[in-house]
């Protein structure tokens, strides 16, 4: 019950936070140098054409009026019209969020599992060959840029070994997948489309692997350090001295105490993973949210930038909320 009250309170706190994000995003994108209209004009456009284009997107209005229009639109679920494409930002975003969330959620989930298993395994073998290998892997994962790793994986996995499909999208178009959420694997499962499930899974392997390698490294180091701390603690030594079963020791004393710090770190890493998708999506032709937001920023497509900042902020806040709740469940000392 206490947790539900905590969640409700935090959800209410979202309103001023998101309002602040809306205001800041609106102002900051306009502070940036750059003309959003110039790039949509033809070769022989005149100043009158530029003025007409500005009027078409409401950019001739006062800043205050533009903000009120934007806010009014948000309240009715209208994110505005993209200056570059002339399409509704909401509908464009709906197509882009699913693929990126699928990529990030699968990657972070795998990274969490791998980090937990390997981190504890490594701590139990501290300073032995296995531990050194894991630490070297973490070091490499921290050091390798995602786009480089992505290109190498494409070269090896697609070009040399031929195990994986060409980096040209998210699912084989010939599978006839009906898009529902935009997350192709989810859509394939929901529509029970066998070939699409296999194809979407195959397309996911390399980009997920690229993200996992980058994301798992900090998690791994954290889990290993926490596990070592627990293994060296008096409470663990006392429990072991009392002759508790290994299973009880592992799950009751080591695992739970080790994972206490993980949710906060995982939330941070989730944010990093969203940022990393910009390059990963480029390398794997993923056409997700990251590439869309980046293009919006490059061309100062105000409605696109505003919407993408808002969605990223929303994701962050929700993920940290989940992290806090999980932390409270894992650590009884935490009072919500």
């Amino acid at each position: 019950m206490r947790i539900f009250r905590f969640v409700a309170r935090r959800l209410l706190q979202l309103i001023p936070v998101l309002l602040g994000v809306v205001v800041l995003a609106f102002l900051l994108v306009r502070v940036l140098p750059g003309d959003p209209v110039r790039s949509i004009l033809g070769q022989n456009a005149t100043e009158e054409d530029a003025a007409a284009a500005r009027a078409r997107f409401g950019l001739d209005q006062s800043l205050w009026q533009q903000f009120l229009d934007y806010l009014g639109g948000l309240l009715t679920g209208d994110f505005g019209t993209s200056i570059q494409s002339g399409s509704s930002v909401g509908s464009e975003m709906a197509l882009r969020v699913g693929p990126t969330l699928e990529l990030v959620v699968i990657s972070v989930t795998i990274a969490l599992v791998v980090a937990t298993l390997l981190g504890i395994w490594s701590a139990k073998r501290a300073n032995r060959a296995g531990d050194h290998s894991v630490r070297i892997f973490a070091l490499v994962g921290n050091s390798v840029p995602e786009f480089w790793l992505g290109l190498v994986l494409v070269l090896v996995g697609y070009s040399i070994l031929g195990w994986f499909p060409a980096p040209n999208g998210r699912v084989d178009p010939d599978t006839g997948l009906t898009p529902l959420t935009g997350a192709d694997l989810v859509d394939a499962v929901l529509t029970a489309n066998g070939p699409a499930i296999a194809s979407a899974a195959a397309y996911l392997v390399l980009p997920v692997l690229t993200l996992v390698v980058g994301v798992v490294a900090p998690l791994l180091r954290s889990v290993r350090a926490s596990a070592l701390e627990v293994l060296h603690s008096e409470s663990y030594a006392a429990a072991k001295a009392h002759g508790l079963r290994d299973r009880t020791l592992h799950y009751g004393y080591l695992l739970r105490a080790t994972l206490v710090r993980l949710p906060s770190l995982a939330a941070l890493v989730f944010g990093t993973a969203i940022g990393s998708t910009v390059l990963v999506e480029y390398v794997y032709s993923w056409q997700g949210f990251g590439q869309w937001a980046l293009r919006g920023l490059l061309y100062r497509d105000y409605p696109v930038v505003q919407a993408s900042v808002l969605v990223i902020a929303l994701c962050y806040v929700l993920v940290f909320l989940i992290a806090d709740v999980v932390h409270a469940i894992l650590d009884p000392r935490v009072r919500l």
Binding site: N44, W121, L298
Partner: protein, 551 residues
């Protein structure tokens, strides 16, 4: 000091089983991938062997931003697709030049139209439609569709409305329906550009379908057209997988000349140039539209691949601000023109695959004259020009597009050589929006530009680049005589008289030197050896109907 507890024999559950589970999981993941890769991608009929004659695969760098040609930004993928899926009523013919096939901008022929001819004064142009041409909806293309399309362009201030000003079309009233298959365009003045302007503007929407989607708040169905492909062109869009692939199928109902040679063309989006290269080498694509110059050089030696090289009218230049110091001094502009290492750039940046430019008027454009740009690399002359300007040295900024490897290489080489003449340049890469804003404010002293004009004519070049206030006139250049020539050219339709005007234009530009004209790079396209029929588009927008692949 506490020691790390050594795992005893009684606690190996995590270590062994965990590792096995993990290894098994990864193996399963890879197996799934390998399995699906075999069952999916490789089994399609798009490979270059076997039945490749039925299907061509083309990789492009980005997905189009909208299907509505009237309101799209400068999106080359989109513009190329429109050329192939919209019914353009007239288009360029094809000619041979230097061993390659190119679009013939002097020969504009009816395609979906039956004829497009002027009256004696060349002010009223009559467009006659072919009968029986249908959109994918089954609706027949009629004069009402042409009229609705042009009404839309004017009412909604679409891109075409701006282009039409060049030929004296400024209002929807000037487009008149005569009967179901005849439309007249009443221009305010005769123009030698009419055919070329209509070749890039005369595309038609299915107005019957459009009206079904229109609403009071969206009378021109913009929301619907942004998301739904047009129909009735050389190809129809059989399937569009958002962000990933567009499948075109040949329009078998096309009644005009040069129908599509390949029944199916699959256009896949591969942003990374290196991935396009890998897929081309693997035979998963037949044509790579978006590969880097460096990869092209390597691919020339790759087995199974050929690199088509065709003369292009894309021109690379440095525009100098003639209204701000230090380049408001013509001698300083001449100094830079003499300090640029033209041959070195052609060799180092383009591997020798570019033509030296002798005029701001592109090579091959009617009216081109070598007197337009009499500058070659000569550091002594550069230093003499600096001395004539009363300067030993100067500092300036050279702006180029961020993320443009070609321009970056040029900038570095210009910087190095210009320094020897006393012109110290700070290199400034800018993102598209910042570049656009600074161009609007006309506060860039030097900037590298690269592009080709949509209309192959000096009048159009002046309109876009050299008259006061022109959109591409980043130099802020103006010359009263050129303004007069430009005005006169609107109503001068005789070829000889026009060429005389263009010769004078080039003499003036040679004296004023608003641009450093670097070169005209050839167009290079890596394709599988089986691919044939590439026609070099002089407007940069590929006509896919000519392409084929041998089985």
């Amino acid at each position: 000091m506490a020691r790390s507890p050594r795992p005893g024999a009684s606690s190996p559950a995590l270590s062994r089983r965990g590792v096995l589970q993990l290894g098994g999981g990864v193996a399963l993941l890879f197996a799934t991938g390998a399995c699906a890769a075999d069952s999916g991608d490789k089994s399609t009929d798009g490979k270059s062997g076997g039945d490749a004659a039925k299907t061509l695969r083309i990789a492009v760098s980005s997905y189009l931003s909208s299907w509505d040609q009237d309101f799209v930004g400068f999106d080359l993928t989109a513009l190329m697709l429109y050329k192939n899926v919209f019914p353009y009523l007239v288009d360029y013919g094809v000619t041979n030049a230097g061993g390659s096939q190119i679009l013939d901008t002097q020969n504009i022929t009816p395609t979906f139209a039956e004829s497009f001819e002027p009256d004696a004064e060349q002010k009223v142009w009559t467009l006659k439609l072919r009968r029986g041409v249908k959109f994918a909806s089954g609706n027949e293309m009629k004069a009402a569709d042409v009229k609705w399309s042009k009404d839309r362009a004017f009412a909604a201030q679409a891109n075409v409305a701006g282009v039409y000003r060049t030929i004296g079309l400024t209002s929807a009233d000037q487009v008149k329906v005569v009967d179901d298959y005849t439309v007249e365009f009443h221009q305010a003045f005769p123009s030698a550009l009419t055919r070329q302007i209509q070749a890039i503007s005369l595309y038609v929407f299915d107005s019957v379908e459009a009206k079904k989607r229109a609403s009071a708040s969206d009378p021109w169905a913009k929301e619907w057209f942004a998301k739904n492909p047009p129909t009735g062109g050389y190809f129809n869009v059989a399937k569009a997988t958002q962000g990933q692939e567009i499948e075109l199928s040949a329009n078998t109902g096309y009644p005009g000349p040069d129908p599509a040679k390949t029944p199916t063309i699959r256009i896949s989006v591969v942003p990374a140039a290196s991935n396009q290269r890998l897929q081309l080498q693997a035979g998963d694509i037949d044509i790579a539209l978006g590969i880097s110059q460096r990869d092209i050089q390597d691919l020339k030696k790759a087995p199974g691949i050929k690199v088509i090289s065709a003369a292009s009218n894309r021109q690379v230049a440095i525009q100098m601000s003639v209204t701000a110091a230090p380049f408001n001094d013509v001698n300083v502009r001449k100094a830079l023109a003499y300090a640029v290492p033209y041959e070195q750039i052609i060799n180092n940046v383009y591997g020798g695959d570019a033509r030296a430019a002798k005029s701001p008027v592109p090579l091959d454009m009617p009216g081109y004259d070598e007197s337009g740009y009499p500058f070659t690399y000569d550091l002594d002359k550069a230093k003499a020009a600096m001395a004539a300007a009363g300067r030993a040295s100067l500092d300036s900024e050279l702006v180029f597009e961020a993320d443009n490897e070609e321009q970056q290489k040029i900038a570095v080489q210009v910087q190095s050589e210009a320094a020897k003449a006393g012109i110290r340049l700070k290199l400034t890469p800018l993102d598209p929006a910042t570049l656009g804003e600074r161009r609007t404010k006309k506060n860039i002293p030097l900037q590298i530009t690269s592009g080709q004009l949509w209309v192959d004519d000096v009048e159009y070049m002046l309109a876009t680049s050299f008259v006061k206030g022109a959109n591409l006139n980043y130099s802020n250049y103006s010359n009263p005589e050129i303004e007069q020539i430009y005005e006169k050219s609107h109503t001068t339709v005789d070829t000889g008289a026009r060429n005389a005007l263009w010769k004078r234009v080039q003499e003036i530009l040679a004296a004023d030197v608003p641009w450093v004209v670097i070169c005209q790079p050839n167009f290079n396209l890596p394709v599988r050896e089986s691919v044939a029929g590439w026609v070099q588009p002089m407007d940069g927008l590929a006509r896919l109907r000519y392409l084929s692949a041998s089985a």
